[in-house]
């Protein structure tokens, strides 16, 4: 039985102060206290001091996915550390840790091996040290719970540190790693959150909370239209606001947008309120620039035309035209998903202080290394001086991809440089909604055919959106990304055509949790349900039949260059058996097929994304235009689960994120200006609209994969399929503006 870590007691017992308001100890490596002289650090991820206290580095950003509560377990477990004698320290941005880019649901799969090895290296060296002390062969020393044992003798790690630190670091291929059954922390269902106590006492430090001596706060009036510029600015009324210190104009943004600053006018003040009030009083005339020609509504016609004339076929099998000519039934449907903003609960925030050549930054960033590069680019700091730019990562009040785009970090660095003062840049909610890197609106066309036995003979899926690549290359026009939820479909159909259309882009486009899986899987999984209905078959049975036999999907046979989330197909194959298994599990747990009252229905959807397999079954009841989510079952196969409680919480979160986007998610522009601005016109679901979410975990021995994103794609289609089952109404446009979630 693993005792839950009570961080408060643990900090007390180790004599470390609990998180403080001013840059809590857990975030500032410089302030980390070492007990005893010795520092034993055979690997960048783990060190031990003379008291046997272990420090494990968390090099990925914590944004609610639980990574700080998960990755350190791997090290501690291999080390056989007493979890109560472990401190987790957040890493600075530093290439020595490998990539720290916390997105793409890849922190677990990219790191689990090297973190296990880090723990095993230290454990092996302590074991060798004990063997020396006792003059016995190494294999007679057993390491357990912060101690070495031989017969009935025992030595605490603290008594071995000094000797161990002088030994040669073992080669990685000589290490003996634990099996899953031998693990004590990894995979246990009741591990407490590392930052749980700090969060419930208000001590946790987010980007918004950073406080430095003599720091000023900045809010920025950014050009309402991307690539717009300041024509003129009158700041006389602003400077009269008590507390306003200064007004600074930022350089105009030129294409490509990248992660550069948007430009505009910054108001620097003694406190946030003065900065906000000062900004209201700025009198700015803007040059809106060419993107002001764009309005979301008007662009619909362009999208639809582009959808009818796709420019590129990315996956092709057989002949869909021929299949249509031979078909008994043809089904066609167009789908639309609106643009989306991240709406992280904490808007972007960054603090910068410049002393001589040294730039220190504290930010809620998903990517300290890209933040570092961005600061260097902004301040024209040459590569050889990278070490002068120190990026401290705070906790993130949500990320969802927004905080992997460090434009806000560049703003803080620029303003600190211009004003020679420590500056905290805060984005208000309006700033966050109006100046995002949006999930693009998209239009999709699905066509399918059935033969006389109601078997699917062809599948056509065309999609058009503003591609993310346009943020980096303004000439990019081809829709993206087909790898996420479109080209990667795992249906056993003899004739397949997957195509992409082209269009121009007029705003910054970025990745939002699960990226184009959101729209692609909505369209594809809704369409499967439409075909099931046309075939007169049960939706779940039809889906299983469409996936077909157990096999490993080889996309290259259809000429499709599938990226497989950057991983080799041999290691992470697309296995239909795993997809079918989660479908069956979710369906069984949801009691699929039970007789439901009038107006009530169940819907199902499933997809493999980010190398994980997720199925969702949702039960809704409807009454006129009112929809109530009655019950939710989600089944997850994400390989070996390192922290099952955090896997569950990610599924719960995905359901709620999905319900928000299905009912409310819509970002629109008029004359290039985003029309939404806060939670009143960009709404979120509330507690009263969300039932309990039942999550069913597959006990898998496959390589662990991520869970931050893959829960989301099947949610909206499962919901719309449920609504169809309940009242026969098919919804092909998100958000569901004519429905009301109650």
């Amino acid at each position: 039985m693993i005792k839950k870590l009570n961080r408060r007691q643990f900090l007390k017992s180790t004599g470390l102060a609990s998180g403080t308001l001013v840059l809590g100890v857990q975030f500032s490596p410089l302030m980390a206290k070492h007990h005893g002289e010795i520092q034993f650090s055979p690997d960048v991820f783990v060190s031990m001091d003379g008291t046997g206290q272990v420090t494990i580095i968390s090099h990925r950003s914590e944004m609610g996915q639980g990574i700080r509560s998960t990755l350190p377990l791997l090290v501690a477990d291999e080390l056989e550390a007493d979890w109560n004698r472990v401190t987790v320290k957040q890493a600075l941005g530093d290439a020595k840790y490998g990539s720290q880019n916390t997105d793409g649901s890849r922190s677990v799969r990219k790191n689990f091996q090297k973190l296990k090895e880090a723990g095993a290296i230290m454990r092996t060296m302590l074991q060798q040290a004990a063997a020396q002390v006792w003059s016995v062969p190494v294999d007679q020393v057993r390491i357990e719970h912060h101690q070495a044992h031989h017969k009935d003798e025992a030595l605490d790690f603290k008594e071995l540190v000094k000797i161990a630190s002088k030994l040669k670091v073992p080669e990685r291929d000589t290490l003996k790693l634990k099996t899953a059954a031998e693990q004590k922390y990894v995979g246990k269902p009741d591990m407490a959150l590392l930052d749980g106590a700090d969060i419930v006492t208000g001590k946790a430090v987010f980007g918004y909370d950073v406080q430095l001596d003599d720091m000023k706060t900045a809010v920025i009036a950014r050009p309402p239209v991307v690539f717009g510029t300041v024509k003129s600015v009158d700041d006389s009324e602003t400077l009269k606001v008590p507390g306003v210190v200064k007004v600074v104009q930022l350089p105009a943004l030129t294409p490509p947008a990248l992660f550069k600053m948007l430009g505009g006018v910054a108001v620097i003040a003694e406190n946030t309120w003065a900065a906000i009030e000062g900004r209201k009083k700025l009198n700015i005339e803007w040059n809106h620039g060419s993107n002001s020609s764009y309005s979301t509504n008007d662009h619909e016609a362009v999208f639809i035309k582009a959808l009818e004339n796709p420019k590129e076929v990315v996956r092709s099998r057989g002949d869909v035209e021929q299949a249509k000519a031979n078909a008994t039934k043809t089904i066609e449907a167009d789908y639309h998903v609106a643009g989306l903003a991240h709406a992280t609960m904490e808007p972007p925030a960054a603090t910068a202080r410049i002393t001589g050549d040294r730039v220190e930054v504290w930010a809620c960033t998903q990517t300290p290394q890209a933040s570092q590069r961005n600061v260097m680019g902004t301040l024209e700091i040459p590569q050889e001086n990278a070490a002068n730019v120190e990026i401290n990562v705070t906790l993130l009040g949500g990320g969802f991809g927004r905080k992997s785009k460090p434009d806000f970090v560049a703003e803080a660095a620029y303003l600190a440089h211009q004003t020679k003062m420590p500056i905290k840049v805060l984005w208000t909610r309006e700033d966050e909604i109006k100046h995002g890197y949006y999930h693009s609106p998209s239009y999709q066309q699905l066509k399918g055919t059935l033969d006389e036995n109601n078997r699917v003979t062809s599948w056509y899926h065309a999609m058009v959106n503003h591609p993310i690549s346009s943020t980096f290359d303004p000439t990019a026009k081809l829709a993206g990304s087909t790898d996420l939820g479109q080209g990667d479909m795992m249906f056993d159909v003899p004739n397949i055509k997957i195509a992409l259309g082209e269009t121009d882009t007029f705003m910054r486009i970025g990745w939002v949790r699960s990226v184009t899986n959101i729209n692609n899987v909505f369209a594809a999984s809704s369409f499967v349900d439409e075909m099931a209905h046309a075939a007169g078959k049960d939706s779940k049975d039809f889906l299983l039949e469409l996936i077909g036999d157990d096999r490993i999907e080889d996309f290259s046979k259809d000429g499709f260059e599938y990226s497989n989330y950057g991983e080799p197909a041999e290691q992470y194959p697309a296995e239909t058996s795993r997809l079918k298994n989660v479908i069956q599990l979710a369906a069984k747990e949801a009691n699929w097929g039970e007789k439901l009252p009038e107006g009530t229905g169940m819907g199902i959807a499933a997809w493999r994304s980010f190398l994980s397999y997720i199925a969702v079954v949702i039960k809704v009841s409807t009454n006129g235009n009112q929809v109530k989510i009655e019950d939710v079952h989600m089944a997850v196969d994400a390989g070996q689960l390192l922290n099952p409680d955090r896997v569950k919480s990610q599924m719960e979160g995905s359901l709620i994120f999905g319900a928000s986007l299905a009912f409310y998610g819509e970002i629109t522009a008029k004359d290039g200006i985003i029309e939404q601005g806060n939670f009143d016109d960009y709404q979120m679901t509330r507690i009263n609209q969300i039932p309990d979410v039942h999550v069913h975990l597959v006990n898998s021995t496959a390589i662990p994969t991520g869970v931050g994103e893959p829960g989301l794609p099947p949610v909206a289609p499962a919901l719309c399929n449920a609504i169809f089952a309940a009242n026969g109404q098919r919804h092909r446009r998100l958000p569901l503006k004519d429905l009301r979630l109650v």
Partner: protein, 158 residues
Amino acid sequence: MTELKINGQLTQLEVSEDMPLLWALRDVAKLTGSKYGCGKGICGACTVHIDGQPMRSCITPMSYAKGKSVTTIEGLSEQGDHPVQQAWQNLNVAQCGYCQSGQIMSAVALLENNPNPSDEDINGAMAGNICRCGTYPRIRAAIKQAAKLKQADEGAQS
């Protein structure tokens, strides 16, 4: 100079009276546990208690808070062991944690008025607090657990 009680301590803050309490707490009193989410009273991240009542500090001017008693998440309990704080930790409610100060302050106020809330009571009292990460099911469960912990505490004291 505006005088008010913050977490039991008489405090004088040098702020203009139209400054919302949230910014006075965060920027002047340096209590950053109360969070900014919307600035418009629609997300609940900034919830504090004023004379025992849950209020949105982002739309409460200092002129109103003046002379009153304000409790923030930092002052909810001395040891961080209020039953609501305990239940929140027992059930690992938080994801990113950013909304949770506000959630907890709303939950505490609910239990003050209703020691044994039903799901519906909880939904009604907590609907003003957005959690973008989606911790709603655990919030419901934690409030029910906190209700039990609280009753056990009170039973033990009487």
